[in-house]
């Protein structure tokens, strides 16, 4: 293992009706609130009204920032920063999916920062320690944004997607009510399941040694998704499946499986490049790219992919090489994702080879990306080409 610090003080309130604790939690931070949400699904499910009622009971002053995009944009973040400054707000309540939460985090960091926010998003500057406190009500399982300090933001003008991580933007509390995820459509449910598994992969394929517990916990999350997702996509209104999937998503990216390891993250970098150029759903892009990335990895270092096959997909290792097991494991992963209805080719989103060079460039934040098997420009281009 590498030396590490783990400090995740986000308070999780999990279960049916936890919104009744919103007032109590929020009053610890202030009553002048920026309410951040997305395209309006929270209005459809009645959550918006519930939140407003709760906030009115504590006489909160509410300013709204609605319409946050699925790949949240820098322009929207800047709008939020200005709203907080103009109205002298002291708390951000983010209600929605990962994009809404990511947007809220960038706003939180940007308010006390006097330079260009993009510097924080691209890690040229650090998020200030006096970032505006955030609370969240998550409405979709997947990103884990409810219990981490990650924020992914798109600069649509330059077609660049970047992300930062800071403990200063960790939510102070997050309300996780599986009921709020019951109406998530089939497609987004699939994307969420894929994203959860990909978050595990990014940390499972790490460049460190001696981390068997972290790997086994990763395998535990993967098995839990594999067991539940197929039942969930056939029965979207099932509370029990939703609650398992919500917890899967939170624990897949709250720092737990990343303790003491140097994670990979190249699949996410490649997907971010694709969705910055083409604005496709993140989970969809991941489902397409990850197996091709894993094939590249298996050709160089098959042993961990083989381990995944044996421990997660129950492959029988008798008489097989790591390369054989890895190949079978990738086949299992492809079949699993296909079985729940995930996309398999970028062409399904109308993406052809025209912008492969641009996407490759956008992915290459350095000469090599990723840590388990560092990828060159040529490697990334090949993975993208195979994904078309």
């Amino acid at each position: 293992m590498e030396n590490f610090e783990f400090h995740n003080p986000t308070k999780i309130l999990f279960g049916k009706g936890q919104i009744s604790n919103l007032k109590k939690e929020i009053t610890a931070y202030g009553k002048r609130i920026l309410l951040v949400y997305g395209g309006g699904s929270i209005k459809k499910i009645g959550l918006y009204d519930k939140v407003i009622r709760e906030l009115e009971e504590i006489d909160a002053y509410i300013v709204e920032l609605g319409g946050v995009e699925p790949n949240p944009r820098l322009t929207t973040v800047n709008k939020g920063i200005n709203l907080i400054r103009d109205h002298q707000l002291d708390f951000i309540l983010a209600v929605g999916g990962g994009s809404v939460l990511d947007c809220a985090k960038a706003i939180a960091a940007g308010v006390p920062y006097h330079g260009d926010l993009w510097d924080i998003v691209t890690n040229k500057a650090k998020a200030p320690s006096n970032s505006v406190p955030i609370g969240t009500i998550i409405t979709i399982a997947g990103t884990g944004s409810e219990m981490n300090g990650n924020s992914v933001i798109t600069n649509w003008e330059t077609k660049t997607k970047a992300f930062f991580n800071s403990n200063h933007v960790l939510p102070r509390f997050s309300i996780l009510d599986p009921e709020l995820t019951l109406s998530v459509p089939r497609e987004q449910t699939i994307y969420g399941s894929v994203d959860i598994m990909a978050h595990v992969f990014e940390q499972y394929f790490h460049a460190s040694s001696n981390a068997p517990l972290q790997e086994r916990i990763g395998e535990a999350i993967l098995r839990s998704v594999i067991e539940t997702a197929p039942k969930l996509v056939e029965d979207l209104n099932n509370y029990k499946y939703r609650e398992i999937m919500l917890l899967n998503g939170t624990l897949a990216l709250n720092g737990l499986t990343g303790m003491g390891v140097n994670p990979d993250w190249s699949t996410h970098l490649i997907e971010h490049a694709v969705s910055a150029v083409h604005d496709i759903p993140h989970g969809g892009g991941i489902a397409i790219i990850a197996p091709h990335w894993m094939e590249h990895v298996a050709a160089v270092r098959p042993e961990k992919v083989a381990q995944l096959g044996v421990r997660v997909f129950d492959l029988d290792p008798t008489g097989k090489t790591d390369a054989q097991l890895a190949s079978e494991a990738i086949q299992c992963l492809r079949e699993f994702w296909a079985s729940i209805g995930a996309p398999t080719k970028l062409s399904q989103y109308g993406i052809d080879d025209k912008e492969i060079e641009l996407m490759t460039e956008r992915a290459m934040l350095a000469d090599r990306i990723g840590n388990y098997v560092p990828l060159t420009h040529k490697d990334v281009k090949k993975i993208l080409r195979n994904s078309l």
Copy 2:
């Protein structure tokens, strides 16, 4: 799952040399420090001197409470409370194993409390929110006390052991340096391994439904212990095994596997009764009692014990009933603990049937104890008798 809150803000600093961060961490809380430690092993390994040097560099005012017992006593806790009040100290630094940390937590809660501390330990009163802040340097893997709000205290006069849990006594930071555990003797290393597994069992055998992720994470920890402990007891000075075991211990009891489930804890209640009457090592008592407890459980509800056998001990379920699998699983557990040198009978500690009634009474905090299979007075007595 049950609705739950999870809030664990303890900052973990894990790895070689993390003590160099002690100064930075501690100055956030104050420089008038109660230094709590045990029987002197921290002096043997040079840790005491290191800690003092670090504290001297920040001109700390240090008052010492050494000699905390392996089953820490109420009298010692009260001594610590008086030291803090008399010297107006503002921070507790606990350096040692779980007992030292547990003692520190009870002191922390007792200082601002104006009633009888035993009320807090026995859950008649709550730990105050202004409990004295604690930092820890852990020197043995096992109890998980470094990342939870649990404290087990013995009232030696009444031969009663009790425990409380409060977020207000969670360590603010915990330094986990596996090097500090290298000199833990074989016997305590075995006890620690047993205790870690038992912490998983207490939460794995829960009275809730629909918690597959929590169970799989529990299984991940169990497998990690089973894989590492036998190598560690044969190679006590091995850093890599020590670091795995240290993390196993922390994650086995930091709230993770207990999310949303109603845990059992009857094995611990029974062991606490035994060690309150006979002052034997906790891990040793657990190793003796747990298999007999599990036999009782398997006779009533064999399915989860069977699941343990299949998923953790790789039993082949083909053609077997849950009862058969459960019986084989218990046999595997016995063999595993025997293989690492854990005790198997209370008579090995010179305990005979004379005080069985007293121990049973001490264990019965209510008419029934435990949640997975609630135990009556008669059940506990039988389990104890079988453990002799």
